[in-house]
């Protein structure tokens, strides 16, 4: 660089100075020396015309002052009258960009010197280097003052001539004196009258006040450390955004990694909603379904729909009623079946089986076809008997007995033999009797009709009454004996029966009184009249033992037919009675008490009424029941006076009462009873009405569980537990041969210490029993013994995620499985933690920024424009929310 160039530069700097101050000071990067030089050259080129531009350049170029620069520059300035070392410019001056390249000789240092901004000083240095005159000129240029101002210096310049180069080791005198420094004030003085001075001044003051020394850059290691720290903080903050999704991810009971399959329609309803009728059929159906009338009715009220249905209300009600009836019937039947099914007793079932057999037997007789079958069977048996003569004492055993003579045998054998003979006789004779019955069906009917007249006599009535009285008394006496065998022997039956018996007893007593009174009256009014008691061999009567009931039956028949000789009915009655006779067991099964009574009263008049009742109840046609009842009572009414009828009514009540349970099973039509109520007294009707009553729940339960005694069982169990935990001490037993060596020892018996031990053990046991927690609790067993088997099923300590025992217990208590949960919720309950489909690539978590206010916006805003607007504002706010999304293929 030439000197002229330098000078030019300085001048340039001077001119710039003012303008610079008026502008903002900028810091720019330090430029490399080569670049700097170019800039300088540019500066020279445009020095005259375009000041502004240069200024800009300069401001960009120069940035800051480096500490070293001054020193280095000083080294080379030998003739510097002004000492730089001493002089320190305020820092702000670094910003005053002077494009003076001061060191020409040392290119290496150029960069540093460039950054040196103490422009005035440097310019001075340059001047001094070259010549005094130049210096003066420069000063003049810079300050705008006449050269005389700097005279002092000049003089000095003139005087001093140093042979050695000026350096820090030999400072010039100026430096030593402390004179000749140029302050900013000095430089400002010439500007005082120029434009913009006040502004400049202000700025300088401002800068002076705030001046801070620039710090040295820290070492690289430290710098990196700081960088890392900041980076870490930044990264940390950045990662923290994951916290929410990760938390959600972790807390989720189930995470699904599955393909997104979009079926389109979600439900059947959704699919159906999109349906439009196309074909004719579909259109027709649609018009029917979507009929305005129907739809409207459906929406408004269900009643309108009924009208549209074209079914009369009565029909519906009827239907409903019939349904209800059937349901109640079913229910009753079910109740009974349940009760019976619950009975576990073997004996009961055995007996039941037997009864059933018998019942079927009787039924077969009522049913003509079944009877035929039965007859065939019997026929077969008889044929067999005739063929084999099994019971004709033809066996070896019988022959031997015969050989020895019957007298020689003991009682048992004799009985057995006779029994066999009887059996044979039975089997053969029955055959004949059966034939007889089939043939003499009509004759018996006629016989019955013959009987009508004697029964009409009041005499017969009195006799009947006396008999009835007797029978009732007998019955009362013999009641206890009944029911010792069969189903009746079962405890619950016994209990039930007892109850019934008491009731019956009371009523029977009343009846007896009635009989007596009526008898007296009868005796008064009528003379002695004998009634024929016919002993007829009725149809299908096989045994002589059954004679008595038969009589009564016939009598009742006659009584009935007295009023109304409807042969059809009669036949029925006969049939029923026959059934009655044939199987007492069948009756027992259904209504045990009735059967008993029947047996007892079989030949009394009242009994006959009763039996007819009983049988007709079992008759498939309910109407006949009442007819029988009516006829019976009516006939009595007609025969006797009012008292009698009254008595009979009462009697009938007595009889009816025990039938009740049976009538529970049988459906009796209400309409029929209504008509009877007019004819018969209130007793009967009320009786039938009461039949509808179901046995109470308690009653049922008691009956059902009559067999098992829970309390007793529990007590047994408890005793067992007690014995197990505190075993009873063994009784002191003498071991055979132990202590029995001599006679004396034997006398001693069990040793005393053994006894004592036993005693103490007993005492201990009692004490421990008393100490037990359940000693005073009758219905509780508290065992304080640890069960090792149970211990296996308990967690030893509270498992990790649980904080309290209750919570853990609760969680254990919740059952799992299809037995405890509906299918819909089962899947959710049993869902594993991670659900993934094999073969589906799971991608790592990805982050999505979602606007939390979006939804609210949608609710609030109506127009789309507004929504967008709001979104924007939200974005500005920077409110963001995270959302996890699993990408799927």
């Amino acid at each position: 660089m030439g000197k002229s160039f330098l000078s030019k530069k300085t001048s340039l700097g001077g001119s710039k100075y003012e303008k610079k101050n008026s502008k903002d000071e900028k810091k720019g990067p330090r430029l490399p020396s080569a670049l700097q030089r170019e800039v300088d050259s540019l500066n020279t080129r445009y020095s005259d015309n375009s000041d502004e531009e240069e200024e800009l350049h300069d401001t960009d170029i120069y940035e800051y002052n480096e500490a070293q620069a001054e020193e280095e520059s000083r080294k080379n300035r030998r003739y510097d009258p002004v000492d730089n070392l001493e002089y320190k410019l305020p820092d702000e001056f670094e910003d005053e960009n002077l494009s003076s390249d001061d060191d020409d000789n040392n290119v290496d240092h150029a960069s540093e010197s460039k950054s040196n901004m103490n422009t005035s000083d440097e310019s001075e240095d340059d001047v001094e280097e070259d010549s005094v005159g130049r210096h003066a000129r420069m000063l003049q240029n810079i300050t705008g003052m006449p050269a005389e101002v700097f005279d002092g210096k000049k003089q000095k310049f003139g005087v001093v001539s140093e042979t050695y180069p000026e350096s820090e080791y030999n400072p010039s005198r100026d430096t030593l004196d402390g004179d000749g420094r140029i302050t900013i004030q000095d430089l400002l003085v010439p500007l005082q009258k120029k434009r913009g001075y006040s502004e400049l001044n202000k700025r300088i003051q401002k800068v002076e006040r705030k001046s801070v020394p620039v710090q040295t850059p820290i070492s690289k290691v430290l710098q990196e450390n700081v960088d890392r720290k900041v980076a870490y903080e930044h990264t940390k903050k950045d990662i923290t955004k994951w916290e929410l999704p990760v938390k959600r991810h972790r807390e989720a009971t189930t995470i699904f990694f599955e393909k997104d399959t979009n079926v389109g329609f979600s439900t059947v309803g959704a699919i159906a909603s999109g349906f439009t009728p196309r074909t004719n059929f579909e259109k027709k159906m649609d018009s029917l379904i979507n009929d305005a009338k129907v739809v409207e009715a459906y929406r408004e009220d269900g009643a309108r729909l009924l009208e549209l249905n074209k079914i009369s209300v009565e029909d519906v009600i009827d239907h409903k009623n019939s349904l209800a009836k059937m349901r109640s019937l079913l229910f009753r039947h079910e109740m009974k079946a349940k009760r019976i099914k619950k009975i576990k007793s073997k004996t009961y079932h055995r007996l039941l089986k037997k009864d059933k057999l018998k019942a079927s037997h009787t039924e077969m007789q009522t049913d003509p076809e079944a009877a035929k079958e039965e007859a065939m069977k019997q026929e077969f048996k008889r044929a067999e008997e005739r063929l084999t003569l099994k019971h004709k004492n033809n066996s070896n055993w019988a022959k031997r007995v015969k050989k020895r003579g019957l007298e020689a045998q003991d009682e048992g054998t004799r009985v057995a033999i006779s029994e066999q003979l009887n059996q044979h006789a039975d089997l053969t004779r029955k055959m004949y009797s059966m034939k007889e019955s089939s043939s003499s069906d009509e004759t018996s009917d006629e016989d019955d009709e013959d009987e009508l007249s004697p029964d009409a006599n009041p005499d017969g009535v009195s006799k009947l009454l006396t008999k009835a009285k007797e029978k009732t008394q007998k019955l009362l006496e013999t009641e206890d004996e009944m029911g010792t065998s069969g189903v009746l022997s079962l405890p619950f039956m016994v209990r039930e029966m007892k109850k019934r018996k008491e009731m019956a007893y009371a009523e029977a007593k009343l009846a007896i009184e009635d009989y007596e009174s009526s008898l007296k009256q009868l005796e008064d009014t009528n003379g002695a009249a004998t009634s024929e008691i016919r002993t007829s061999s009725g149809r299908r009567v096989f045994g002589a033992a059954r004679k008595q009931p038969e009589e009564s039956v016939n009598r009742t028949k006659s009584g009935n037919i007295d009023r109304d000789s409807d042969s059809d009915y009669e036949y029925k009655a006969n049939d029923n009675l026959d059934v009655d006779r044939a199987g007492n067991g069948a009756l027992q099964k259904k209504v045990p008490l009735d059967a008993n009574m029947l047996r007892g009263e079989s030949d009394s008049g009242s009994k006959s009424v009763y039996t007819s009742f009983d049988d007709t109840v079992r008759d498939p046609d309910p109407k006949t029941t009442y007819e029988v009842a009516i006829f019976a009572s009516n006939s009595w009414k007609k025969v006797g006076n009012k008292n009698v009828s009254n008595g009979i009514d009462k009697k009938s009540v007595v009889v009816v009462e025990p039938i009740r349970p049976q009538q529970d099973l049988k459906e009796v039509d209400k309409d029929d009873t209504e008509s009877e109520e007019e004819m018969v007294d209130g007793f009967l009707s009320s009786g039938t009405k009461a039949d509808y009553e179901l046995p109470s729940q308690e009653d049922l339960i008691r009956r059902a569980f009559a067999g098992d005694d829970v309390e007793e069982e529990f007590e047994k169990d408890k005793l067992e537990v007690l014995n197990e935990e505190n075993p009873e001490p063994e009784k002191p037993l003498l071991l055979p041969g132990w202590g029995q060596w001599t006679h004396i020892q034997k006398k001693k018996g069990t040793p005393s210490w053994l006894l004592e031990e036993h005693e103490s053990a007993k005492r201990k046991r009692e004490e421990s029993l008393k100490k037990r927690k359940d000693a005073h609790l009758k219905h509780v067993i508290i065992s304080e013994k640890i069960n090792k088997k149970v211990e296996k099923l308990h967690a030893k300590s509270l498992p990790y995620p649980y904080t309290s025992q209750e919570a853990f217990n609760m969680s254990m208590r919740v059952p799992i499985g299809p037995e405890f949960h509906p299918a819909a919720s089962l899947r959710a309950l049993n869902c594993p933690e991670v659900v993934k489909t094999p073969g589906h690539i799971i991608k790592p978590i990805s982050f999505e920024e979602v606007n939390p206010h979006e939804k609210e916006d949608e609710q609030k805003m109506k127009g789309p424009n507004q929504k967008i607007k709001n979104k924007k504002s939200n974005n500005v706010k920077g409110a963001k929310k995270t959302k996890i999304k699993h990408k799927s293929n």
């Binding site: 990196e224 450390n225 960088d227 890392r228 720290k229 900041v230 980076a231 870490y232 930044h234 990264t235 940390k236 950045d238 990662i239 923290t240 994951w242 916290e243 990760v246 991810h249 972790r250 995470i255 990694f257 296996k792 099923l793 308990h794 967690a795 030893k796 498992p799 853990f808 969680s811 254990m812 799992i816 499985g817 299809p818 089962l826 899947r827 309950l829 049993n830 869902c831 594993p832 933690e833 991670v834 993934k836 489909t837 094999p838 073969g839 589906h840 690539i841 799971i842 991608k843 790592p844 978590i845 990805s846 982050f847």
Partner: protein, 394 residues
């Protein structure tokens, strides 16, 4: 389930194709790279080129480019053909030339690819970040002079990566700020690191001291969880894509599966012929585990040993679920836990575990005695989670 034989030397590294379920690549110590088809358990193709051992393998997220690096100071990029057309039986002989070979100054120890990005990182003397399209690393980090042994990108946060180096340190880097971020020095070397793909702040380090340590990148002063059970150095670790469990391969010739928060392993796999396991991988659907070991074999395991394979009908699946739920419910009961956690171990491992237990017990006893004989409070109890950490360098 099966062993895949084919390599001539022990397998040093593996990578899965994130875009294709059946693909897995394995690199061996003799410089051979093989591409396996897991369905047929056969080699689909081989990549020849490395002069020394292949130390690192990785695949780009789209599965098109395979990056390998090795001790021959080269990084090689290979193009992976589309899987569909390459399932030929005679394709074993197929071999391809690398797309590019970049030569570095030092041997490379590991390589990992960024998730959903163009960059991959190699580890060696320093950590270099490369771009697919440039032959020079676009960035390189150096913090300390020790060799970096492993590098792993965070799949959730693609700009974050962690390395472990031979100075026993784990270092975190952030690409955006182009500086290392933090360094954690432990008492023993970390062999491998894996980030949790579902929890981007957490990573687990497989340590030389037989344990794995789960860390939160934000709180490095203590481990979140210490996963113990191995009896020798843990060589490699890989997270299941579900983020709920990870698999480790160890020098003790076993493969173990841990839950992400479980102190002990859920499952252990071993066979008589399996030697030191150097590399393990979970498949992309999280249902299989592949291990590569010293005996030159790749082995395929089920991630859940008792799981039924094949198509499972709805009813059957519901039944399985119910059984699992029952097991889960009663897992605290002593007997059930015993049955559930019982595994038959090879004798050496069983004995080593016992020995380790004894040693640990002795250490604990000694510590306890010391504590008992020193002034109260002078020896604070240090939890295991902090014990193995030397310091955290900023």
């Amino acid at each position: 389930m099966d062993a895949m034989d084919g390599h001539m030397d022990s397998i040093s590294c593996m990578t899965k194709n994130p875009n294709h379920l059946k693909d897995i690549f394995s690199g061996a110590m003799d410089g051979e790279i093989r591409h396996w088809d897991l369905a047929s358990r056969k080699t689909v193709r081989q990549f020849h080129g490395h002069q020394g051992a292949v130390k690192g393998l990785t695949t780009s997220t789209d599965g098109q480019i395979l990056v390998s690096c090795g001790t021959d100071c080269t990084v090689r990029l290979w193009s992976v053909p589309v899987a569909g057309g390459m399932e030929l039986d005679d394709s074993i002989d197929h071999s391809s030339e690398p797309l590019a070979v970049y030569v570095g100054k030092n041997a490379f120890w590991a390589v990992d690819h960024q998730w959903d990005g163009e960059h991959f990182a190699t580890a060696g003397a320093q950590v270099d970040i490369w771009d697919h399209n440039r032959s020079e690393p676009i960035n390189s980090f150096e913090w300390g002079k020790d060799t970096v042994m492993s590098v792993r990108f965070n799949p959730g946060e693609p700009n974050l990566l962690a390395t472990s180096s031979s100075d026993r340190s784990i270092t975190l880097y952030d690409l955006r700020l182009s500086t290392p971020v933090r360094k954690l020095i432990m008492k023993t070397k970390t062999n491998s690191i894996c980030w949790n793909p579902m929890e981007p702040m957490n990573f687990t380090a497989a340590n030389e001291d037989c344990n794995c340590y789960s860390y939160d990148a934000r709180k490095l002063n203590e481990a979140k969880c210490v996963h113990k059970d191995h009896v020798s150095a843990v060589m490699d670790i890989d997270f299941s894509p579900t983020g709920k469990e990870f698999v480790t391969g160890s020098y003790d010739r076993t493969v173990r599966i841990f839950r992400y928060n479980g102190g002990h392993s859920r499952e252990i796999y071993h066979t008589k012929r399996m030697q030191r396991v150097f590399s393990v991988k979970f498949t992309c659907d999280g249902s299989y585990v592949v291990s590569g070991s010293d005996d030159t074999n790749l082995r395929l395991w089920k991630a859940k040993a008792s799981e039924q394979m094949g198509v499972i009908l709805e009813r059957e699946r519901r039944n399985h679920e119910l059984r699992e739920a029952l097991k889960k419910k009663f897992r605290h009961l002593p007997d059930i836990r015993r049955i559930d956690s019982h595994r038959h171990l090879p004798k050496p491992i069983y004995k080593a575990a016992k020995l380790r237990q004894v040693m640990l017990e002795a250490e604990r006893r000694k510590d306890k005695n010391r504590r008992a004989h020193s002034a109260p409070g002078s020896m604070p109890v240090e939890p295991m989670r902090k014990k193995r950490i030397l310091k955290e360098v900023e």
